[in-house]
């Protein structure tokens, strides 16, 4: 029973981070700030969702697979964010100033 509540808490936290990522994607002023939504908020959200599901599944095999998928998403997200930001700078897109 306790594990159910823990899983619920993790999944809700995951949903919250996804929401934060969406808000960031829609509201941030330029490419560089929007990259945060991609590489931070959503990946943390996915991590929470994976953790909640891993607890719910109660199987080490499933937990391991979910963790692996999450690692791949992290790796890809971080690299892609770097590539996009670098290319944006090369192309002379100036970062937003307050």
């Amino acid at each position: 029973m306790l594990t159910d509540y823990l899983a619920l808490l993790l999944l809700i936290s995951g949903g919250f981070f996804f929401l934060a990522g969406t808000v960031g994607l829609l509201r941030f002023p330029d490419v560089y700030t929007r990259l945060h939504a991609l590489t931070k908020a959503d990946n943390v959200g996915l991590g929470f969702v994976m953790a909640g599901l891993a607890i719910q599944s109660g199987s080490w095999l499933v937990a391991g697979k979910l963790f692996l998928i999450w690692l791949l998403v992290l790796l890809a997200g971080a690299s892609v964010a770097h590539l996009i930001a670098r290319r944006a700078l090369q192309r002379g897109i100036t970062p937003w100033q307050r």
């Binding site: 791949l72 790796l75 890809a76 690299s79 770097h82 590539l83 670098r86």
Partner: protein, 314 residues
């Protein structure tokens, strides 16, 4: 709740498809198409068709996106102007003949809804026959049994169609060679990490196909993604492999499939009728070679369909 989810998914999918088709900025259309592919994978999951969801994820959302982006890059080299439609942007419903098309579409829509409404509910279809014959097919997954045994010639023709498409693209003439620009440490590290993982996942999907959703086309697409990633990070085929070995790889799957079809015709009197005892091995052989060829063909398409792909000058 499920109904709400499905309605949102369906409407979202239709809207995305419409936007992707009607966008006059080609790049935006491609990104929308990729998003549409992801949405479609979810739709297939909701329709309880995990095999097709897998194929859609690998081909529709993955490799096709990369192919379209590569095509767009080549267009720019040729055209040197904005990647928007050359014609003046008048609303599409003002063009001649659009009323006729709208009438046709509406008629088709009504006919489809009518047919759907009158379909019998819960027909078993051929499911029962497939399950009954599953033990003779050599695999434990009904979809794979249908694709590679009961209706193997469909799959054979599909692979031939892919090869034909490559020949068609190649016949359009040489395309501009992509210069290798500096990659930087991050892309190098990423491709070194991901390429082996992609090969491993492709092998896993191929092996899985015997008992669960997976198989040659999905594995081939994942292999192709690995090849495309290597190409993008500056790797080129060594010159000594660029001619005959490469062409052999392209033709390996289709040719082996054809040879086996002829052998079964000669032995059993029917096209692709494997002896039940060895069927599993035959299917694995066909699927493995088909995966390799499908992967190679997709990579060749990404390179612009050259029979002699870009290679290192030695």
């Amino acid at each position: 709740m499920p109904l709400l989810f499905d309605s949102l998914l369906g409407l979202g999918g239709i809207w995305l498809a419409w936007q992707a088709l009607s966008s006059d900025n080609l790049f935006r259309a491609i990104v929308l198409f990729v998003a549409f592919g992801l949405m479609l994978a979810l739709v297939w999951v909701r329709l309880a068709a995990p095999d097709i969801a897998l194929a859609e994820a690998a081909i529709g959302a993955g490799v096709t996106g990369a192919l379209l982006l590569a095509a767009l890059a080549r267009l720019d080299v040729v055209v040197h102007e904005e990647a928007t439609n050359p014609e003046p942007s008048q609303p599409s419903w003002h063009r001649p003949g659009s009323g006729f098309v709208a009438l046709l579409t509406a008629g088709l829509f009504i006919a489809l809804v009518y047919t759907l409404y009158h379909l019998p509910v819960d027909t078993p279809g051929l499911r029962r026959d497939v399950i009954a014959q599953l033990d003779n097919s050599g695999v434990r997954h009904p979809v794979t049994a249908v694709l590679l045994n009961f209706r193997g010639y469909d799959t054979l023709l599909e692979i031939l169609v892919l090869l034909l498409a490559l020949l068609g693209v190649g016949s359009l003439g040489k395309c501009h060679r992509q210069a290798v620009t500096a990659t930087g440490p991050v892309l190098d590290a990423l491709s070194r990490l991901l390429a082996p993982v992609l090969v491993l996942v492709a092998a896993y999907l191929l092996w899985l196909g015997a008992s669960a959703p997976g198989g040659a086309f999905q594995a081939g697409a994942v292999l192709a993604a690995g090849g495309i990633l290597l190409l993008l990070s500056g790797w080129r085929l060594p010159a000594r492999f660029a001619r005959w070995p490469w062409r052999l790889l392209l033709a390996l799957g289709p040719v082996l499939f054809l040879v086996l079809a002829l052998i079964t015709l000669w032995l059993e009197g029917k096209l692709l009728q494997y002896p039940p005892a060895q069927a599993g091995g035959w299917i694995l052989l066909i699927e493995a070679s088909a995966s390799l060829s499908i992967g190679a063909i997709l990579v060749a398409l990404f390179m612009g369909g050259d029979a002699e792909p870009e290679h290192k000058d030695e």
